[in-house]
């Protein structure tokens, strides 16, 4: 960096001092809330600093809520980008159309220890265990909030909620009436547009919406284009009705089509370096329909029934085509027993059936499988001392046709010594069930050309992962958490969470049979590996979130996350040792971010978002990524009440930087570029 000339520093201090004086004098004019009429109250703007903490004060878990306003003001154009706002979450962009998202460690393109739900519908794919982020989206303006729950949520949400649960909740259709038109364009966000219409139907409301976009490609380290184009179109609807007194019905649906590009490093025994860079095309198509009914029973207790059907198709020509149908039903009942027990219990059933045609480097056997899951849970929120001490005991029993029956227990304690402070602790057990890919896929992993380190022979060695004879076990975690929240002042709140997790039976692989093959030519050695559960790990960390409004029009939200992850092989097998090494270099140890939101006038907003992510892996590891700092800026102006124009700059501090090297379906390592876009939002 060029050192700033001292005159410039003096100048900035002067400008800053002037700004400070101005803000102090502005602050000394407190509004008088007592004599405002109802009409004026409807016009008054309110600051929202307290809302989050108010709501969260009572939750005995590490929860962070990303509000619609947060999303809007961050300039984020996709759900994974918005998730960067939450502490404890590691979001790494592999390419312009690929993300690795995880909570509290083990990040990968398919972060398999994180359960994600959108309006109660699981978007966790059983194919590779994880979320295919490029296929999941909605109208961002329709998202009411994203609740990010760190730590196991399995006792409530079921298997695979090992390290966290993300709930994406959209707004009720009553809150999205009228028309909305969004359009924009930029350097990375080449073009995007969305439209929504909300209206009334009978005793309720509805909305229909659609969106489409075209995104630019990222680049490789040496400046070549990444073939990670992205074109998508999506339509959806939601309706909410009050049927009878106290009964509410919600119906929603979506359909999408998604074209993305990718570049794979395909292992090839004929290639000099053992890999062939191959441009791939991935198409995703899908649709779902979800219905939910909530009603109050005669004794005052509340019940909810939800069902959905989801069809998706994921195709990578030359590799595989997956078609999947999921049917899910869920019933919940909440009742108060006496003065002290707030009980929630429920039953669930899920069917997920697939058909996978595969060719080339991946093959699935059998090509069709169905997965059945039945579950029952009960939670009791027990008041030990009114308004002061609560204990929450919960357990979920799940059974599936692969790994059998699992109890998933959780105990939490919540102590609120005063209106402004709370302390909570939790102990939980959770599991991750093996994915379809782990159970049934044979994949060519790599080729060591003759003469390469590790291959003294004159023949190439092809490493291929095949189905094992032993059945795979669930991965298990035992998690201990402690949290503290305090509202230090009406405009300042603090949220701290610490955790220690012990993992066992993490999935890895071991060396198996070795054979010599003549076909296809050239003659080569095939080294097979079979999956096993031979890695154990432990993690610990701290997450801190502060929410401060120094002035009524200025809000600052710093967060910091620390994570230490140590994994080791229990078998000593070289594959398992290498896999443990990958886990050890998948996550940054330190992450911090600072968001500043200024409402300069009631028509102008200026927002800033500074983020730091520490390095991944050791310098000479193939998964190494240097630390990086990024800056996003947003300026928005409302020339009229219904029209908002904004200018957003993203990743402004460097022209390009890498964020992650994927270890599964290895592609070319791409770098994320600086981007600028303009956006118009018109409500009419």
């Amino acid at each position: 960096m060029i050192p700033l000339p001292s005159r410039l520093i003096r100048c900035f201090s002067l400008a800053f001092a002037v700004g400070l004086m101005g803000s102090v004098s502005a602050e000394s004019l407190p509004p008088e809330p007592l004599d405002i009429s109802l009409e004026d109250l409807l016009r008054v703007e309110v600051t929202s600093a307290s809302r989050k903490s108010e709501r969260l004060h009572d939750v005995a878990a590490a929860v962070y809520v990303i509000s619609r306003e947060d999303i809007e003001r961050s300039g984020a154009t996709s759900i994974p980008e918005a998730l960067r706002m939450a502490p404890g979450v590691d979001v790494a962009r592999l390419a312009n159309n690929r993300w690795a998202v995880s909570v509290r460690g083990f990040n990968n393109r398919f972060g398999n220890k994180l359960l994600v739900l959108m309006d109660g519908r699981s978007i966790y794919s059983p194919l590779f265990s994880g979320v295919v982020w490029e296929n999941e989206d909605t109208l961002l303006e329709d998202i009411d909030r994203i609740e990010v729950i760190r730590g196991p949520g399995a006792a409530m949400w079921g298997a695979n909620a090992v390290n966290g649960v993300i709930n994406i909740i959209t707004r009720r259709s009553r809150d999205t009436q009228g028309n909305l038109l969004v359009a924009g364009a930029g350097s990375e966000e080449r073009a995007f547009t969305s439209f929504r219409h909300g209206g009334q139907a009978g005793d309720g409301h509805y909305r229909v919406w659609g969106k489409a976009f075209d995104r630019d490609e990222a680049v490789t380290g040496d400046g070549r284009s990444g073939n990670d184009y992205w074109r998508a179109g999506r339509v959806g609807f939601r309706g909410d009705w009050s049927v009878a007194s106290g009964q509410r019905v919600m119906l929603s649906g979506q359909a999408y089509s998604n074209d993305t590009g990718d570049r794979w490093q395909v292992p090839d025994i004929t290639a000099a370096k053992g890999v062939r860079l191959t441009d791939m095309k991935q198409t995703g198509k899908g649709a779902h329909l979800l219905g939910r009914s909530e009603w109050t029973l005669n004794d005052g207790s509340e019940a909810a029934l939800q069902a959905y059907v989801d069809y998706s198709q994921l195709e990578v020509p030359g590799a595989f085509k997956e078609e999947r149908t999921t049917i899910d039903m869920d019933f919940q009942h909440r009742l108060l027993l006496g003065e002290r027990h707030d009980v929630l219990w429920g039953l669930g059933y899920r069917y997920s059936g697939d058909r996978i045609d595969s060719a080339g480097i991946i093959s699935f056997q059998p090509d069709s499988r169905s997965f059945n899951l039945a579950s029952a849970f009960v939670h009791d929120d027990i008041t030990l001392l009114p308004n002061t001490l609560r204990m929450i005991l919960g357990v979920r029993f799940e059974t599936n046709n692969f790994t059998g029956y699992q109890p998933l227990p959780n105990a939490r304690l919540m102590w609120t010594p005063s209106e402004t402070q709370s302390v909570w602790g939790s102990v939980a057990r959770a599991v991750r069930t093996p994915s379809r890919g782990e159970l049934d896929a044979a994949i060519d992993l790599s080729v060591l050309p003759p003469g390469a380190p590790g291959n003294p022979s004159p023949f190439p060695i092809l490493t291929r992962n095949v189905r094992g004879n032993d059945s795979l076990e669930n991965e298990t975690v035992l998690a201990y958490e402690l949290g503290y929240r305090q509202r230090l002042a009406s405009n300042l709140s603090l949220d701290v969470a610490a955790f220690y997790n012990q993992y066992s039976d993490l999935r890895s692989a071991m060396l198996a049979a070795r054979s010599f093959e003549f076909a296809p030519p050239p003659p080569h050695i095939v080294q097979t590996t079979t999956p096993d559960n031979s890695i154990e790990a432990h993690t610990h960390g701290v997450e801190i979130a502060v929410d401060w409004s120094p002035l009524s029009w200025w809000r600052i939200q710093p967060i910091y996350s620390y994570l230490s992850l140590t994994s080791s092989s229990t078998s000593g097998d070289p594959v398992s040792v290498a896999n443990a090494q990958i886990f050890n270099s998948s996550d940054p140890q330190h992450q911090w971010s600072l968001r500043s939101s200024m409402s300069l006038t009631d028509r102008q907003q200026f927002d800033l978002w500074l983020r730091y992510v520490s390095k991944l892996g050791d310098r000479n590891s193939q998964f190494s990524i240097p630390a990086y700092t990024t800056l996003d800026l947003r300026y928005a102006w409302r020339p009229t009440r219904d029209l908002e124009l904004s200018l957003v700059g993203q990743n402004l501090l460097d022209s390009q930087h890498p964020e992650f090297v994927p270890s599964l379906l290895p592609g070319e390592s791409l770098e994320i570029q600086r981007g600028v876009y303009v956006k118009a939002k018109w409500q009419f």
Partner: protein
Amino acid sequence: MNSQTRCWLAVLLAFAAIVTTSRSLSQGTLTEAQAKAAFVVNFARYIEWPERAFTNRTAPLLICALGRSVVGNALEAHEGRQVQGRPVAVRQLLGIDEARPCQVLFIADSEERRMSQLLRVVAAQPILTVSDADAFIDSGGAIGLVRADQRLQFEVNRQAIEQAQLKASSNLLKLARNLADFKGSH
């Protein structure tokens, strides 16, 4: 442009920012809790209670708050003010069973999970229920406060108000978000 010119330009910009921000501040910005409390007190001005709701003609108008929320604290700032010729009294409740003497009951959104059970306890009593919880009027509450971008709005459940034997003035109904086309006739 030399660096000194740039410097003065920066100072000028800072001034401009102050002028614009002070302008917006003079229009009044409240914390969300202050605004919600002000709404609750204002609602009481537009509601007519049956005589039996009060012990006598000079009894205070009792506004009660239930659940964990700073709105309860913000309500206390209104204690002693006059509404419909009665002084306002504010009380924080520990449980719903203490709600019987209240004329207005604010239920914080922390109680969202057991809202319909709480409302069942005070149903048919002359108590105006207000909350900032999601879908409050769908659960059977009388007035729900809802956030719309930077502003607060409210929704009215006329059926719930009638059941509590209260009368709401048409001026209140006209301002309710869900009754935007209300013309004042039944």
